[in-house]
Symmetry: C2
Subunit: 432 residues, 2 copies
C-alpha cells in the first residue's frame, strides 16, 4: 500500500532550497522511500500524475489554539483588554468539551485544505482536541494551557496540571506517534514562578516538551521587569524552563540578550506575524533571531486574532513585514520564510523526521497546483511560493503516508456534519 | 438579456457597511436594476442560485503595471537600486508591444479570477494593454508612463506625450466607457517641472485624469527636498497638477501638511501595502489620511514587487500593518479596508457608477463562495472578508453586466493560449 507520484517538481529544504524537476516520489506505508528521476516499481501503489504540480513538505503551524475558530470574527478592531476581558473570556468560560471538539474539527478542516500537516496547540479540554486530531489524520503537539490555580507549594494537587498529566498518559505517542502532549505554562503573567517550576519539573519527569507564550506585548514585558526585575525570557531561563525543549510563541519584545539565552538553550522562536499585527502587539525581531541562528518557526495563533489558520499568509507576512519595518529589502527572504514554515517548525515541535521531502522521512507532504496564473512565468519557484501562492493551491495532502485531502475532498472528516455542528454550537454559545 | 441572482447575501458600502440577506438582485444590460427581498420577473434572465454565497462589488486595483507579470519573481529580496537598474530596466528595454500584450493578458487572467473588476495602469505600449483589456471585459483607466524625453520647452514634440495623446484619442471612452485613458507623469524624480506642467496642460485640454507616483521612498522625498526645496506633494501642487483629478500612488512618506494639500485638491491616496513592504519603501500614513477624510484606495503595484495582483491580500495587509506598526488595534478596521478596495477605488478612478451594489449602478460585481471553513461561524461577515477570505473564494465575476468568469471558467480569455504565449515570450525575453 502506498503512492507513486510521477513527473512532479519537488521543492524542499536541505542546507538550502532544493528543487528536483521531473521527479518520481514513492511512498510506502508512512514513509517516503524514493525520490529521484528514475522509474520505480509502481505495483501496489496509487499513481498520481504530478505534471504541472509541486510536491513540498506540509506546513507546520507552530503556535495556535484551534478551538478558537468558534470565536473567529467575533471581536475585532478593538483594544486588547476590551477584546480579551469583555469578549473572549466570557465566551470561553461557557465552553464545553463538546464545543471544543467541534471548534477543533472546524480548524482541522481549514488546516488540511490549506496544506498544514502539523501543529502545536495550547487550549483546554485537550482530550477533545486530541480526539479530533486523531480522527483527522493530522500531526499535533497538544498542550493544556496552565494558569495558576492551586494553593499547594508543590502543586501536586493542582487540577489543571493533573489534567494535563492525565492527558499526557492517555495520548502522548498515540496514533503511531502522530499525537504528542506538551506541558504549557501559559505565560509569565498568568503563572507564578513556583507554578512554572512545578510544571517544568513535571515535564522533566515525563520527558515532555514545553509550549509557552513569551513576551507578546509591551505590557507583559514591562510588568515582568517591574515584578521580577528581569525580562520574561530571563525569568523563564532562571526558573530552568528552557532546560527542556521549548516552543516560545510570539517573542515580540525579546531583547538581544534574551535571544542569546534562547540560542544557548535552543528554544524555538515562534513568529506569529498575523496575530501580532492584528492585536497590535508589534513586530518581532525576526531578522535578528535569524542572524543569531535561532530556530524560527511560524504560527497563526488562534483564529480569533488572525482570523484564519492560513500558513501561506504567515509565510507571506513573515517575508514582507520585516523588509518594510526595517527598510531593508533583503530581510527575511523567500527561502527563509519557506524554511520557517516547514523544516524549522517540524524541528521546533520535535517531529524531526518530518518537514522535508527526504527518503526515510515521514510522508507529511502536499501537492500544489502550480498552473494558476500567478505561477507564471516560471522564473523562481521559491519566490512564487512565498510571495504569490495561495492556500487554495493545495490540491493533495498527505500525513504519515495517508492521503487526507484531494481536490476539495476530505478523506477523514465530514465537512457538512462539522459545519452543521459548529453552527449549532454557536447558537447556544452566543445566545444572550 | 440579463441575470437574476436569487437568495444571496449582498455586502456593500453605503454610508457604512450594508448587508442584505436573502436578497434577489436583477441585472439588465450593463446595470443593476433591482436589489431587494421581493420576487422579480425572471423572464429573459439567466438565474443564479445565491444560497450560501455573497454578492459584493468587484475589487478596484487603483495602481498597477499589469504587463510586469512577465517579471514576477524574476528579482526579489534585493536592494531597490540593484533590483531596478540591474534586473528590471534591462528587461524592460527589450519589451516589444507583443510582449506587453501577453503580459497584460496574464495579468487579466489573474485579476479576473481574483475578483478585480477595475484597475488603473501605468506602463508603455498601452494601446496593447487597451486591446487586451477590451478583450477581457475588465474596466480600466490606462496611462502611458511619461518620463522626460524631449528638449523643447513646450514639449509639443515629445514622443511619449504624443503617443499618450494619440492613445487617448483612440481609446478614451472605448467599449461603452469601460476603457479610459489618463496622463501619467511618472514621478517627480523622472520628470522635470516643465514636463509635468506640459502634461498637466495637455490633460486639462483633454479633460483627462492624472496618474502619478508620489513620495514612494525616503530617497525620492529627500532628493525632492534638496532639489526643489519642497516635498513631492508640494512640488506637484505648486505645478498645478492637482487641479486635475489625480491618482497619487504610494504616498509612503507624505507629511501631515502634504495630506492637507491632497485633501484640498481631492487627490486620491493609493495605498500599496504589499509593494511598499516588499521593496522596503516603508509604511504609508494611512490612518492619518483616513482621519483627514482623504479618499484612500488600494493597489497591488506591479507583480514584480508584490508578487501577485491579489487585492484580497492588499485588503488584509491594509487592515493589519497599521495596527502593528502603530501599536493601535483599532487602526484601519475591516470596513475601512473593504471600502478602500471597492467604492474608494471606483471613485478615485472616476468610474463613479461602480464600486457599490446599488440600483442604477453598473453591474461590476462578484459572487463569493462563503461556505469555506474560514467563513464559519457566521459572526461578522465584514471581518471574515477583510481578515480571513481568499481570492480563490471568488466564484463569479461580472463587469458591465457581462459574466467574465464562473467557477474557474473564463468567458472572454483563453487561458491555455495565454500561458503558452507567456512562456514563449519569456523564453525570448530572458535568453542571455
Amino acid at each position: 500500500m502506498g503512492y507513486y507520484i510521477k513527473d512532479i517538481t519537488v521543492l524542499t529544504w536541505e542546507q538550502g532550497i532544493k528543487i528536483i524537476t521531473n521527479a518520481n516520489v514513492k511512498v510506502v506505508g508512512s514513509k517516503i522511500t524514493y525520490i529521484g528521476t528514475e522509474d520505480q516499481d509502481d505495483s501496489g501503489t496509487d499513481i498520481i500524475d504530478g505534471k504541472g504540480k509541486v510536491l513540498m513538505p506540509g506546513l507546520v503551524n507552530a503556535h495556535t489554539h484551534i478551538p478558537m475558530t468558534l470565536l473567529r470574527s467575533y471581536a475585532d478592531d478593538m483594544a486588547p483588554h476590551t477584546w480579551l476581558y469583555e469578549h473572549i473570556f466570557p465566551v470561553e468560560a461557557k465552553l464545553t468539551p463538546e464545543d471544543v471538539y467541534w471548534g477543533s474539527q472546524l480548524a482541522l478542516l481549514e488546516m488540511i485544505a490549506g496544506g498544514t500537516t502539523c501543529f502545536a496547540d495550547m487550549y483546554c479540554f485537550i482530550d477533545k482536541i486530541a480526539e479530533a486530531t486523531a480522527q483527522s489524520g493530522l500531526r499535533g503537539l497538544l498542550s493544556r494551557g496552565l494558569i495558576n490555580g492551586a494553593v499547594l507549594e508543590d502543586y501536586s494537587d493542582d487540577d489543571r496540571l493533573n489534567e494535563a498529566v492525565s492527558v499526557f498518559h492517555e495520548w502522548d505517542g498515540a496514533m503511531d506517534g502522530r499525537i504528542r502532549i506538551a506541558l504549557a505554562p501559559h505565560a509569565v503573567y498568568t503563572c507564578s514562578p513556583q507554578y512554572i517550576k512545578a510544571i517544568r519539573n513535571m515535564a522533566e519527569k515525563l520527558n515532555a516538551y514545553i509550549h509557552v507564550h513569551v513576551d507578546e506585548t509591551v505590557k507583559e514585558h514591562n510588568d515582568c521587569l517591574q515584578q521580577y526585575g528581569k525580562t520574561p525570557v530571563k525569568h523563564l531561563y532562571d526558573i530552568g524552563l528552557f532546560d527542556l525543549p521549548t516552543i516560545a510563541a510570539h517573542c515580540v519584545h525579546v531583547t538581544d540578550k534574551d535571544m542569546d539565552l534562547m540560542k544557548e538553550k535552543n528554544v524555538a522562536f515562534v513568529h506569529n506575524p498575523g496575530s501580532n499585527l492584528k492585536l497590535a502587539s508589534g513586530v518581532a525581531p525576526v531578522p535578528d533571531a535569524l542572524n543569531k541562528g535561532l530556530n524560527v518557526a511560524l504560527g497563526t495563533d488562534g483564529a480569533s486574532s488572525n482570523n484564519n489558520l492560513n500558513m501561506w499568509e504567515e509565510m507571506n507576512l513573515a517575508s514582507l513585514i520585516h523588509k518594510g519595518s526595517r527598510l531593508d529589502p533583503t530581510a527575511v527572504n523567500a527561502a527563509e520564510a519557506f524554511k520557517m514554515a516547514t523544516v524549522n517548525g517540524a524541528s521546533a515541535l520535535g517531529f524531526s523526521d518530518t518537514g522535508q521531502i527526504k527518503e526515510g522521512f515521514k510522508a507529511d507532504m502536499i501537492i500544489i497546483d502550480a498552473q494558476k496564473p500567478y505561477y507564471y512565468p516560471k522564473h523562481k519557484l521559491i519566490s512564487n511560493i512565498a510571495y504569490a501562492a495561495q492556500a487554495s493551491d493545495v490540491e493533495t495532502v498527505f500525513v504519515d503516508g495517508k492521503m487526507l485531502y484531494h481536490r476539495g475532498e476530505y478523506k477523514t472528516l465530514d465537512k457538512e456534519k462539522i459545519l452543521f455542528n459548529v453552527e449549532k454550537t454557536c447558537e447556544r454559545l452566543f445566545s444572550k
